[in-house]
């Protein structure tokens, strides 16, 4: 049997492979140390509990928090739901207005929409054309009845880093609870919760070389933040999230976050070098545009639009690499990326976008291959493109009257 060679993986923002060191650490907790961490009456339980608490300490250390501020969840989606619905409902007597951003992940947008159905009001801030939220715009959106704000640290599509400290300070001045989705940030940017004015922060393991199905929510103790549980049961995690703890998953997340803490400085330097090489290589192609601010951005992300080439056909052409597109044709909804649209990108450029995300196992040879592949295939697809032909003939495509369909 022959197996087709797998494409080069450049989709680390979708998920990362589990680091072999993480996997090795997890396995004994499946087959040998299988106790329930909530079992207080025998060594099986004690061993599992110790492993869980060690992991909690590792997660807390990466973000400079107290381990008692970390609550295990099934992932960042659950953390976001627990934080947003839990805090909004607990503090709803203070007010029923929520502020978030149009470019947030669906795991933030949808819980906020759900709260709107329950009688809350929400403001979805528009970022600037580089994807950043201005502090003035944010300040102007605050109302006396604003109870909660949710802003992501690192955007999943364009990798831009928001001014969390600035937004948090405004929240403090106005007595607004501040939640931050940091799923894409751990191991990529330094997070110091001892100094950051943040009340709730969501984490995921699988974006940082840990396993899927495990995450955590940071819940500040000083000043103490209260949330309503969304999952009721045995009262685990101080009543905030019931359910038997998944020891092996938790051990994996702890080990992944420990590695991130110890290696992120050198790793990010190497990844930045690779990203810049990719950027400069692709910028030699005519009519390419970087989506999102380049300076305030994690080194792992490069989101580019290749004008006059449609995203899905480009993805098909570059089968040798595994990447994501903002094109409508690659999504079930047939709508182009709402994140790129919020930046004011035209539909055409949103359709023509590719997100490259680089990670721990990306090599320089991978980047060289990618640049050569893109150059060849974009040339081929532009030969096929009537829009490219019009552009080359000097026709302004935005001035043509198209029959929308």
């Amino acid at each position: 049997m022959t197996t087709e060679r797998k494409p080069i993986y450049l989709d680390y923002s979708a998920t990362t492979p589990v680091d072999p060191r993480v996997a090795a650490k997890m396995i004994p907790y499946l087959t040998e140390e299988y106790g329930n961490p909530a079992s207080r009456s025998h060594p099986y339980g004690w061993t599992a509990e110790k492993a869980v608490e060690n992991a909690r300490e590792e997660v807390a250390k990466l973000v400079n928090a107290d381990p008692r501020e970390i609550v295990w969840t099934s992932g960042a989606t659950e953390s976001n739901n627990l934080a947003i619905k839990g805090a909004a409902n607990f503090y709803s007597n203070k007010g029923k207005h929520i502020i978030t951003v149009a470019t947030e992940h669906k795991a933030v947008i949808d819980p906020v929409r759900e709260l709107e159905r329950q009688g809350f009001e929400a403001t979805f801030l528009e970022p600037d054309s580089e994807g950043l939220v201005s502090l003035e715009v944010f300040k102007a959106a605050i109302r006396p009845d604003t109870v909660l704000t949710s802003v992501m640290l690192v955007n999943n599509e364009i990798g831009v880093i928001q001014d969390i400290e600035g937004i948090g300070n405004i929240c403090r001045e106005n007595n607004v609870i501040f939640h931050v989705d940091a799923a894409q940030a751990t191991g990529k940017v330094k997070i110091d919760l001892a100094s950051l004015p943040v009340d709730l922060m969501s984490f995921s393991a699988h974006k940082t070389y840990g396993p899927k199905g495990i995450g955590a929510l940071y819940v500040r103790r000083k000043p103490r933040i209260r949330i309503e549980a969304q999952m009721h049961g045995g009262g685990h995690e101080r009543g905030m999230r019931s359910g038997t703890l998944a020891t092996h998953q938790i051990v994996g997340m702890g080990e992944a976050f420990r590695i991130a803490r110890e290696e992120m400085a050198t790793e990010n330097e190497r990844i930045r070098m690779l990203r810049d090489k990719l950027l400069h290589g692709l910028q030699t192609i005519e009519e390419t545009y970087v989506n999102g601010d380049l300076a305030n951005r994690v080194p792992h992300n490069l989101n580019m639009s290749f004008n006059y080439v449609e995203g899905e056909s480009l993805i098909m052409a570059v089968k040798g690499i595994a990447v994501s597109s903002g094109s409508a044709c690659t999504s079930a909804s047939l709508e182009p990326s709402y994140v790129l649209r919020a930046l004011g990108r035209s539909d055409e450029l949103a359709h023509s976008s590719i997100r490259f995300s680089i990670g721990r196992f990306t090599t320089e040879a991978d980047v060289d291959y990618t640049i050569a592949l893109l150059k060849e295939k974009i040339g081929k697809l532009r030969e096929l493109s009537p829009l490219w032909e019009m552009f080359k003939d000097g026709i302004d495509i935005s001035k043509v009257e198209w029959a929308a369909h």
Binding site: M316, A403, A404, H405
Partner: protein, 132 residues
């Protein structure tokens, strides 16, 4: 996206890519779709004095099935009369390429491109007749 072998074949080896002379009185051009919607097809046909399509060329901005749909119709058009061409239905294109349901609109666009090209050549011929 799991495409049929036929779509992949047309996508990887598109037939009849290019343009014809749009000022040629025997050439009809159909341009349909919109960049904002993610697909634009340009189809050009050259019709002989006997009313038979001698040549067809296309350029398409769009997804794999849009490219395959337009490539396929250029093959089908050659040798047909303009009236036979006008009668080509999108369902036949979708069936031939085994397009998934979310891609049916690509075959609709290809049908629209044929109709637009035929309408263009008929308008040109009418104008030529009136001028004569």
């Amino acid at each position: 996206m799991a495409y049929s072998d036929k779509v992949l074949d047309h996508y990887e080896n598109p037939r009849n890519v290019g343009s014809l002379d749009k000022n040629d009185p025997n050439v009809g051009t159909g341009m349909v779709g919109a960049p904002a919607c993610g697909d634009v097809m340009k189809l050009m046909i050259k019709v002989g004095d006997d009313g038979i399509i001698e040549d067809a060329k296309f350029k398409t901005y769009g997804c794999g099935s849009a490219i395959a749909s337009s490539s396929l119709v250029t093959e089908w058009l050659k040798g047909k009369t303009v009236d036979e061409a006008y009668a080509i239905k999108n369902s036949a294109i979708a069936e031939e390429l085994a397009l998934p349901p979310v891609k049916i609109h690509c075959s609709v666009l290809a049908e629209d491109a044929i109709k637009a090209a035929v309408a263009d050549i008929k308008a040109k011929q009418l104008a030529a007749k009136e001028a004569a």
